[in-house]
Symmetry: C2
Subunit: 477 residues, 2 copies
């Protein structure tokens, strides 16, 4: 069922007011990672709660307890749980978003004050911290709800909402809430039929996208130690086993220059792509030039766009991040470091999990270290990890989003997987046991965590239409 | 010709006064590497100049000009040139030492004030910055001269002296002076028959040593760059050539875990040791336990002491020092660094020189990089270097020192080569074209650049006897 024409007109007619509301939201510097701004995250929660109540949402602020940040005990900002509609004949959709933002200072290189929304005079971009990540999408939902509230129109589905204020700082407290209220014991999340998260981006600047996968992660710290203190390379060079030599050998055995993971069994866990899957990547509006523009150099691993996109989205990757304990300054220092720790991470895809991959990593490193016949000591730590997520993109939840995209944008969405992680996605998918859709509002160049973050005016306005239309399509798929 | 018994008695009888004079010298914090102490280096030059004049040395303070340190233009401390005796029938010996010291603060971990000489109540160690490096040895010469001056005895050789105040900061200005005055054009160093430098250490704490070799150095910075900025490993992992992966591969191809240099032609430049040479190493008073005690762990590359000592003294070594530009902090960061620079150095032995070795290193790295088929860019820089030095240890200069050692210590000296560098040694050897002897006064555990630097009382007193006896033996070898 398409959205009512009146809804689409309402959005266009109220565009300036919607942008003003986004400006009010951006003006609250709700930086969750900065203790001195914690009060602003609370302020943002109150502001959003007021806005939701004003459009008829029944809300509650959920206390998530305290946490320690930078040696300081702080109250966590509340999660906002909202609901509107309770018709057993309708589907119930859970919407997720976050009202906290990344840090931003003009001195970081912003052209304008990050917490004053600026409408670019020519291209219409809405520039300000949080415009795209994730206040714009949350306000898209508010826009949709405002139409229904002001016109007295019934929503085509029941809505539940979960908005949090700690996403940029590890979503502290949220997992517990979802697990407590979503495990089928009569909790608040019971009855949800599907989830929609609008907190990622199109692959490019041209084509709307639906996202059905995220990679997981396992992060390792690999420590080789030997002497009791740093040694002079003149005195000790070629007399002792040097930890740095051993570590570099081990790190050099992890991944090839072309990205192949050399740890036996890791790449092999992942089944080859089906022809149908390959067709998805082939059909994506993306080019080698796009990736090289994004990286700033002609360094793509392949000239074949399908290979490169699969490298990002459906294959695991291993990156070497750095070394702790070795000389890292400018200039020349001739020390033999006593203890060095290499850091690397593996992005995981199904069916890989940290539990399945870590033993292979550890066994391989131990075996490679044994080959060195070194008298130094090896210590391997798994610092953190998370499972990958892939949804069924043929589910009615995706089908509704696809129809909505075609209705609003007159083009089929790219069907994408992300190379990174949004951990709450997996929490909802696993805890609630329902299909989760990532429905991005912004473009690939929005600069979510960067300077001059922006949301294109058209993405905000057409994106609002998309979110509303999606609800109508959901009702009839 | 043995030293006169009266000389040996004089040294014993004046030991306390000698220690008091060392105490006066240590009290002047002549730290050349700290601009705020530059005045103290000048003060130390004046103090030493006065002491030399007081025992009959004809001196001159040579202005070495200015230099820039920490963005500040500073006057270099003067070199002191001294001479005593000008008998054409006698050999002329050039003595070298330095009157500047390494920085030292009690807060670095010293048990006592570094600039107050403390005589340890039980073991007699003379503890203070510069006690061993290099004020003790310079004062050893003063002690010898005092005997001859006070008793009116003629010295058995002509002496020239060159004492500098910038050794701990790269001997700035000294090379120019030596080359200007030592190249055979009627300069001040003309007529020198041999050189004696007392600025290194015994191999252990038990056996006096004569040192006839030093390793050279070539230091490389190896930069791999690709993207225009750091990248997110979720988004770019397995889509682009990662500079860190390439760099780690290259660094892993340089040296084996057992110390073999993998750059073709580098190890091969060095001829195998002769049986006579092996006998020297075999005869050194040194054990695998000694090196493992010094390193603080059982990590020696071999159980064979000759192999380990040759690894330090007569073979080149390659050490990996660190990486600039990669994540080096604690914790976990998932960035793909855009530009990373690996640092490594090779200690060189004859006939290796930076000029001979560097082209092999560069060609090898370029060839290994080509094998990676990476689209990243490689840039190789040779940051600095110096040639190795080996003297003829059968020269009469060494023979005199050997006889002197046997006379004073009743044991044959270890014949050692050092793994590190003392660049002025090579300057004297090459410019003056004469034999250079390194005649250490202190022990291997003196902690020259470390906290609680010390010189054993017996090394100072017997060392004074050794220096004087060496001059007498020189006269007749």
């Amino acid at each position: 069922m398409p959205a009512p024409t009146e809804f689409l007109q309402f959005v266009d007619q109220n565009a300036d007011a919607f942008i003003q509301r986004l400006s009010d939201a951006v003006a609250i510097p709700s930086i969750s990672g900065d203790a001195s701004h914690r009060k602003d995250v609370f302020k943002m929660a109150d502001w959003l709660n007021d806005q939701l109540e004003a459009v008829g949402v029944e809300t509650q602020l959920v206390d998530l307890g305290k946490h320690i940040m930078d040696d300081e005990e702080l109250q966590l900002p509340p999660a906002i749980l909202g609901r509107i509609g309770n018709d057993p004949k309708k589907k119930t959709v859970l919407l997720y978003g976050h009202f906290d933002v990344q840090p931003a200072n003009k001195s970081d290189g912003w052209d304008t004050d990050p917490f004053t929304l600026v409408v670019h005079p020519t291209n219409g971009q809405l520039i300000g911290r949080g415009s795209s990540d994730d206040k714009g999408p949350i306000l898209g939902w508010l826009n949709v709800l405002q139409y229904h509230f002001q016109t007295g129109k019934e929503l085509p589905v029941n809505l539940k909402m979960c908005f949090e204020g700690m996403e940029e700082s590890g979503s502290e407290g949220l997992d517990d809430l979802v697990k407590r209220e979503g495990s089928g014991n009569g909790g608040w999340f019971d009855g949800v039929d599907c989830v929609c998260i609008s907190d990622n981006y199109w692959l490019n600047t041209r084509t709307p996208a639906l996202t059905y996968g995220l990679r997981g992660l396992t992060y390792f710290k690999l420590t080789v130690s030997g002497p009791s203190r740093d040694l002079h390379s003149g005195v000790f060079g070629r007399t002792v086993h040097e930890p740095m030599t051993d570590l570099i050998h081990l790190m050099g055995q992890l991944v090839s220059s072309t990205g192949k993971i050399l740890i036996p069994g890791v790449d092999e866990m992942v089944p080859p792509p089906t022809e149908e899957e390959k067709a998805i990547y082939s059909g994506l509006d993306y080019s080698i030039q796009d990736i090289q523009d994004a990286a700033g150099a002609a360094i793509a691993l392949s000239d074949d766009k399908v290979n490169v996109l699969m490298g990002r989205m459906r294959y695991p990757s291993l990156s070497l991040h750095g070394i702790e304990g070795a000389f890292s300054g400018v200039g020349a220092k001739t020390v033999i470091p006593a203890k060095v720790s290499g850091k690397f991470s593996i992005r995981l895809v199904p069916p890989q999990t940290p539990d399945a991959v870590n033993p292979l990593v550890i066994a391989y490193l131990q075996s490679e270290f044994a080959k060195l016949n070194s008298k130094n000591k090896l210590h391997i730590e798994d610092l953190h990890g998370g499972k990958p997520w892939v949804a069924d993109h043929k589910h009615w939840n995706f089908e509704a989003a696809k129809r909505a995209t075609e209705a609003v944008y007159k083009q089929s969405p790219d069907l994408t997987r992300e190379g990174g992680s949004i951990p709450v996605t997996l929490t909802f998918a696993e805890t609630l046991g329902v299909n989760v859709l990532l429905l991005p509002m912004g473009r690939g160049d929005d600069g979510a965590h960067s300077t001059n973050e922006k949301l294109d005016r058209s993405n905000f306005i057409e994106g609002t239409k998309l979110l509303g239309t999606y609800l109508y399509e959901l009702a009839t798929v």
